[in-house]
Subunit: 122 residues, 2 copies
Amino acid sequence: MTGYSIGEISHLTGLTIDTLRYYERIELLVDIRRNQSGHRCYSDDDLGWLNLLVCLRETGMSIADMTRFAVLIRQGEESVPDRVTLLSKHRQDVLNKIAQMEQKLEGVEAKINHYLEQEKNK
Amino acid sequence: MTGYSIGEISHLTGLTIDTLRYYERIELLVDIRRNQSGHRCYSDDDLGWLNLLVCLRETGMSIADMTRFAVLIRQGEESVPDRVTLLSKHRQDVLNKIAQMEQKLEGVEAKINHYLEQEKNK
DNA sequence: TCTTGACCTTGAGTCCACTCCAGCTTGTAT
DNA sequence: ATACAAGCTGGAGTGGACTCAAGGTCAAGA
């Protein structure tokens, strides 16, 4: 209930402490509570938001787009349709990127097999 | 038979002209033939190598690793097992990364669905 | 009391992968 | 003859996403 320290959040999210402070600087993260001694004190909501950011980052969303999304959220309820649009577009981008990677991976596999053949016939 | 100009190769591979020259500068590409007027003249082998590089790049291999691979190739036949090792490791990395992206994408989809539910109950 | 360790801030630095610039040459079309 | 497109070089600049450094505060334990 007292919230999480930056070190705890770093462990829980996999983001470094420097990255957490950086995200706050660029306003990807706002209004983080502080305790008496000025240390950041993250809430469960903050943790939830960071976990979503990690999902977006790991699926290749740019910081610029994450920032756009964060702005939508700050605009409140009425931006929900826009948020759906943004995330849906991202979802499709990710699916395309995965398909693209799978296709190019075939080229790599063909090369591996070519080398294996070459070794076999020696 | 006369080979391809840098502009043609750019179209064929999707790499920009600047990137092609950059790859040569960092020795990802070596011994590109020149015509009488000093212009690059790429062979079919060069094109094949570039297409493989594109597969590696699009699947997320770093320039540093591509350079290592290029060095192995220049070492000749005896490096074939090492090339297989390098490419196989990359293949596994790509599969892991795709799996990771698919998993994190579920987090994004959950959020989309959450928003859609929220909109429905309004 | 004094030392650790975890935290704080501002500002600068790093790494990667290009990308752009200025000034020059060459070959083809009008 | 001249204009224009496409190419050349060496070197500098860019954008994205962090990452590090220096110097300071604060609370708890030996």
